[in-house]
């Protein structure tokens, strides 16, 4: 018995050693391709963002490869559908990491999946998390690119207060951690701007009738609404909001109203609607315009519309490249040591890593029909305190 167990154990450890030394040997031979797992929702409720995410990631991969790849190695992207429950997403990532030899991951998915992945990776493999999120991720080896509530609201709420006269805010969102954490941050900024919160409400994802909420908003005397409803709920709410004639007197601000959501809201319902994000398809800077030109030249004029979530995958590849270049290695520990202060320039502007988050430009856009018009740019906005 003992002997057999010993044999088993030694066999297993040899296998493990072989498996873990594999990537190291690959790194030594610079010409080998670098497998990067790109985790995006290709199915499920967020599947809407699959095509734009994949296009943007592929565009970045092709451009980085054309410029010589990451540390001289060509990126070989492997797209994995993470529009599935966290346990399944984690299984798929494990397979790609241990079995498929992926040496880095870039993810555009919800926080539940991120929680499962940081638990799985435990800082042993570099992982770039790209979408807008609630803040507070502090795991080693996890590099967060997305906008935090601090970035989307700290400069924006005072602007809305002074330019639009917003003083009585109603907070409405879906019932999960991103809206709740966003609103918790918002309350501080609203108080600082001299305003008050006159109502706060969280809706289940199944809600498709918003009449009682609209009656309460009207009754509360609110002159501004902060919307953290997502996807279809945001579409339904904003349509009903405008049909009741509230759009003229009440300013709306959303932190996840991107191009697809706005298209669903419709031109006749989008008056006095603002959105705050790190990217819009219509940003007028030279870098953003050139990016959009390259995107549509590559994928055709009718390609999936550019939006902040999809575009974040492009920046994810740029950030991975920048950190690896600064560290001179793809080793997780070396990258973690080098990450602080890494900067790169992309379609969103200049971004600099701080506490594994990035400080960057934030754009406030006003809906003009079904298009966004950037009305204010806030430069180099800090991500707030996410580790404490």
């Amino acid at each position: 018995m003992k002997r057999r167990e010993f044999l088993k154990a030694s066999l297993a450890s040899t296998a493990l050693a072989a498996a873990s030394s594999g990537p190291l040997m690959l790194t030594a031979r610079a010409a080998d391709p670098l497998k990067v797992g790109i985790l995006i929702p290709l199915s499920g409720p967020a599947g809407l963002f699959g095509p734009s995410s994949q296009n943007c990631a592929q565009l970045a991969v092709d451009e980085v490869n054309a410029a010589g790849g990451i540390l001289g190695r060509m990126i070989e992207p492997v797209y994995v559908d993470v529009g599935v429950p966290p346990a399944e997403a984690s299984q798929a990532a494990l397979k790609l990491w241990k079995g498929g030899g992926a040496e880095a991951f870039i993810g555009m998915h919800d926080s539940a999946v991120r929680g499962a992945l940081t638990n799985l990776f435990k800082g042993q493999v570099p992982y770039v998390y790209t979408p807008v999120y609630e803040g507070g991720e502090c795991s080693p080896g996890t590099y967060v690119l997305g906008e935090t509530p601090a970035q989307q609201l700290e400069p924006v709420i005072p602007w809305i207060a002074s330019e639009k006269g917003a003083s009585k805010w109603y907070l409405i969102g879906n019932d999960y951690n991103w809206p709740r954490d966003t609103n918790a941050a918002a309350k501080g900024y609203i108080a600082d701007s001299g305003g008050e919160v006159v109502g706060e409400e969280y809706l289940p994802f199944t809600a498709d009738n918003f009449d009682s909420n609209l009656a309460k908003i009207k009754d509360s005397g609110a002159n501004a609404v902060l919307i953290t409803l997502v996807g279809g709920a945001s579409v339904g709410f904003n349509r009903a909001f405008a049909s009741f004639g509230l759009a003229d007197s009440v300013t709306r601000l959303g932190t996840l109203i991107e191009e697809n959501t706005l298209a669903g809201i419709g031109a006749e319902n989008s008056k006095n609607l603002f959105s705050s994000a790190g990217y819009f398809g219509s940003i007028e800077t030279a870098a953003a315009k050139e990016f959009a030109d390259r995107y549509f030249a590559k994928f055709g004029a009718d390609a999936a519309a550019l939006n902040a979530l999809g575009q974040s995958c492009y920046d994810g590849v740029l950030l991975l490249n920048a950190i690896a270049a600064k560290a001179g290695s793809l080793d997780a520990a070396a990258m973690d040591a080098a990450s602080e202060g890494t900067s790169y320039e992309g379609p969103r502007g200049m971004a600099t890593m701080k506490d594994r988050h990035v400080s960057k430009d934030i754009y406030l856009a006003e809906a003009d029909g079904v298009a966004f018009k950037v009305v204010q740019t806030f430069s180099d906005v800090a991500p707030g305190n996410n580790c404490g």
Binding site: L48, S212, R239, S243, F244, G245, G264
Partner: protein, 283 residues
Amino acid sequence: MELIATYGLNFLYAAATLGLIVLGLAVVFGLLGVMNMAHGEFVALGAYSALIVQQAGLPFVFAVPLALGFCAVIGWLVEWSIIRHLYRRPFDTLLATWGLAILMRKGIEVAFGREYKSIDQALPGTVNLLGVDYPAYRILLMALIAALFILLFVWYQRSNTGSRIKAMVQNPELAAAVGIDTARLSRYTFIFGVSSAGFAGVLLSPLVRVEPYMGLDYLLSSFFILVVGGLGTLEGIMIGSGVIGGTDAIISAVFDKTAGYMGVLVISILFLWLRPDGIYARR
């Protein structure tokens, strides 16, 4: 006072639109015993008909004949190919129509994409009613639905076809024996059911989100209404819509939306448990 008037109008609107949505399912499920899981997809088909008409630059009303035509053709095909073999096998109809629902959702996705679409309101703006600024289109919609239900009620009570349907529902063998073509009658009943779902989709399309998966919402609330109201009668539909719409509206107004949704679930469970035939059952 203004708030109470708003809640009152909201309740009437919710009950009316729920009644319109559930009508098609009530006909197909209540009269034919077919659990049509693709009911919501026929509603979606109606909404996309409105989109086609809008993209072609035609007036909104053209969407009605287009949707009725679409749904009738697909309903006829589905009844002929699948449903007619499954009458009196409710569980099999559930599985078959669930498959159909997936196929229709994917079909819409292929034709129109995953993106949200926006249908313009045929009658934008608000009207002052009972001291409340209420959306004009909603008021028109409520009047239309009320007229539709009255017409349908009278027709079902008075017409020959109505009597034949009742005979078929109560005893199909006997109905066939006295010369009623039950196969044809069932087919037309099914087509009427899915077409009315499409009609509901057209009317609601300017007010709701339009995307390939929109149908799922309507299926669930429709089943709740049938559980409460009971199968097989128009009265049951109206009572069920009132109870479900009212529960959601009142509890959401007093507490919040989550409590309102929970109230609907609790009521549905209580009915399934204590009164499985609903308030106004046929038998």
